[in-house]
């Protein structure tokens, strides 16, 4: 089970990192989501015990660790909010630049720098 968890986390994290290195903003956001889920899965996997659901009249056998579940739930919500925010920023970038591509943004930045440089020389 631990090996399975480790493999899943590794694949998620790897795929997320791969996507994050792309130039397309949306892919970067999706990469971020995958990494956040890798982190959530790590939280789940770090639980100390496994067993039945920990609902109040506790059963005789071992219950699963409730702490990690609470943590993961919180982390999920935070991850969700952050994803929404990232998508929002990506959309704003799209409406101002008409591009969701880092290459285009970088080209624009380079053009601005060159302009600054020219001003500097002319002064």
């Amino acid at each position: 089970m631990i090996v399975l968890f480790a493999a899943a986390i590794g694949i998620l994290f790897g795929a997320g990192t791969f996507l994050m290195l792309k130039t397309d903003l949306l892919r970067v956001v999706v990469g971020m989501v995958l990494i956040s889920h890798a982190a959530n899965l790590t939280l789940m996997a770090s639980g100390l015990t496994r067993g039945r659901a920990p609902i109040h009249p506790l059963p005789e056998e071992t219950v699963s660790d409730p702490v990690v579940q609470a943590l993961t739930l919180t982390a999920l919500v935070i991850g969700f909010a952050v994803t929404a925010l990232l998508l929002g920023i990506a959309y704003r970038v799209y409406t101002t630049h008409f591009a969701v591509d880092f290459d285009r943004l970088a080209a624009e930045e380079a053009r601005r720098e060159a302009e600054l440089e020219r001003e500097e020389v002319s002064v």
Partner: protein, 417 residues
Amino acid sequence: MLAALVWTDGPRELTTGGWPSGVGITLRADALSVVFALLTSGVLLVSLAHEVLDGVRSSRFPALVLFMATGLTGLFLTGDIFNFYVFFELAMIAAYVITGYGGEARQLGAAFVFAVVNLFGSFLFLIAVAAIYHVTGTLEMEEVAARIGDVEPGTVILIAVTVFVAFGVKLGLFPFHFWLPLVYASVRPAIAAILSGALANIGTYGVLRFGADILPRELELGAPALVTLGVVTIVYGALQAMSRRTASEVIAYSSIGQVGYVLIALAIGGPVGYAAAVLYAVVNAVNKALLFLATGLRGWLVGAAFFVGAISVAGIPPAAGFFGKLEVFRAAVEADRVALVALVFVGGALSVVYLLQIYQHDHWRPGSDGASREASPLALRALTVALAALVVGLGLWPEPILAASREAADALLRGAP
């Protein structure tokens, strides 16, 4: 108020919701957290006042700053690792939105890069939290510090490295700095002041709390690596700053360099080293806030304020930066590290060069365009000058801040048996 209580009675604890300790979430205030909380609130207040006086562009801005203040204060006062993460995200989300504030194309691009890089850092931290919980079975900082000694060293080192990388991204240390100049240079001055004067404190506090308080053994083990990184950071930051010409870019690179000193002081360790790290972090935050706020303004009063900030970063008395440098220097001397002492000097000299270059460029040269030569509104200038006066005041009467940093270092050492 809370600061005064901590000062006289020692650490305070509060468990929320009336649950027994271990079930409820603990809030804990010791000298270190109080110093950082006060510092951050002060910087946020000044930056907010600056932006308000300059004319707020959007009604959301003050609310977001308050949101961030909540997150940061909570983060400094929490006694629970997972809560640390939650407050951390709270402050960061506000910061992402604030970075995009202004709505220009460049700022949006910067906000996106900032958000992605820092989220990556946050998730690494979350993974480290999970790992700590797995090996110690608790999330409370004190308990973790007590139990982590029994864990297999290899695992703990892995955790320590993950935590360090997570905070390194936040601080803009040398190998993780790439996002920082882009962001600081493209946002408005008040926001740059918030980011570098308040938000970067997360990184410093995190490294101090996790390094010195929770993982002292691993800190000692990693000290050579920290010193190397610190040295490279200082030299790299200074050289890059010298080659830049716009004021905000120079200061951005300079803030990369300044973090190196904190790292070196931390690596030297012991009461003197920790006190030096805390003091340097405090002084640096105030300096950076002053410099960034002063960059957007014009007029001779602001020139004087910028000059005070510059000599403070360079460590020339009577500015507060002198004592920051002096403490790092003392720590290095006590540890018999001649090379580090020399480096602190060289770093100081380089910062004089690049900051005065900017000073000359911005404040002495006749203006290329008439508009930017006109003095800025009086209220803004007065605010900047007041901050400069604070820097000089701390330099002239350093006892309170010295005592505060010693107290904070003591709190760290008490926590680490």
